[in-house]
Symmetry: C2
Subunit: 157 residues, 2 copies
DNA sequence: GGGATTATTGAAAATCATTTTCGCTATTCA
DNA sequence: TGAATAGCGAAAATGATTTTCAATAATCCC
């Protein structure tokens, strides 16, 4: 009854989430679906913090607690549905987990916090060769470049 | 009186710290020197958290407050003496800042937390070209590879 | 489908790392 | 040296995240 006919068929995606959750002994809940929906509605590679998720759900009239959000994020990271990002700023961000070779990386403005994504296959290559060289089994790579964005440069020295 | 003759002349380094601090209006204090000493005594590229700094100073009989440690770390990051790392684990790590082209990166075991450093000039190249392409002025790059280290692999599935 | 089992939820309290406040001390500079 | 003030330590405050606990709801089994 919550299915909006204007959107692509989500019941299939919902089933997918349920299947993935149940396979590992987790339960499907509407809260988890709503959180995942936010990521799927956003541009691929868009990252969200717990705070932003909470606010966006509030905005669309959904009441949800922070504990539920944090628990859902952890579960989805464990199931490889989401990826946790350490961008800086003292909080964590999450985004849809993409196939390894499609991973993108981040360019962060240390002044205003703006984040740009970019892709570069070199990272995956270096990541796999480095981890292989030390016997690590590779999970993922994050390349973060810190700088000052064009808008902030005039504001500083 | 704390000068160990087996080590290179530290009085010169102390003067250096004083000079760098005073140049920007900060004051030289013994606490700041002791914190910087910890980094200089460690292997280049070894990273420390505020907690570890506090513990190491306690171990060598120095009493220092966390507020002082955090303030000193911020000042030294601002002065480019140290670099702040976002490795994961919900806390920040710091290490001696090295010249840009010598930057090293990290391979982290998500199971036991072990961290290995590695160098790869490709990162700096990609970092500069990406930031240049978007008009960012580059400050630094962090490439972090997450995986499972050889010791932990047998312990998991 | 119905009921037992138990994962999940929300609210509030608890943690943990980090930051701030404030009165006192110590560094810098004239 | 002495005035001005940055920095110190201790304790309180903050902000993000985690945990606790009683109530709820998803899954499983019959």
């Amino acid at each position: 009854m919550e299915h909006d006919p204007a959107l692509p068929d989500l019941s299939q995606e919902a089933d997918q989430l349920k299947t993935v959750l149940n396979k590992e002994g987790f339960r499907f809940t509407s809260q988890r679906q709503k959180i995942l929906d936010l990521f799927q509605a956003a541009a691929l590679g868009h990252h969200l913090s717990a705070e932003e998720i909470h606010q966006q759900l509030l905005d669309q009239g959904e009441k949800i607690s922070f504990s539920t959000i944090y628990r859902a994020l952890h579960v989805m990271v464990r199931l490889s549905l989401l990826q946790e990002l350490e961008l800086a700023e003292g909080r964590k961000y999450y985004e849809l987990n993409t196939p390894f070779m499609d991973q993108h990386h981040h360019l962060v403005c240390v002044h205003c916090g703006a984040v740009k994504e970019f892709e570069d296959a070199t990272m995956a290559q270096v990541g796999s060769s480095e981890s292989a060289a030390r016997g690590f089994s590779l999970l993922n790579c994050q390349f973060t470049v810190y700088g000052i964005c064009p808008s902030c440069q005039p504001l500083l020295g």
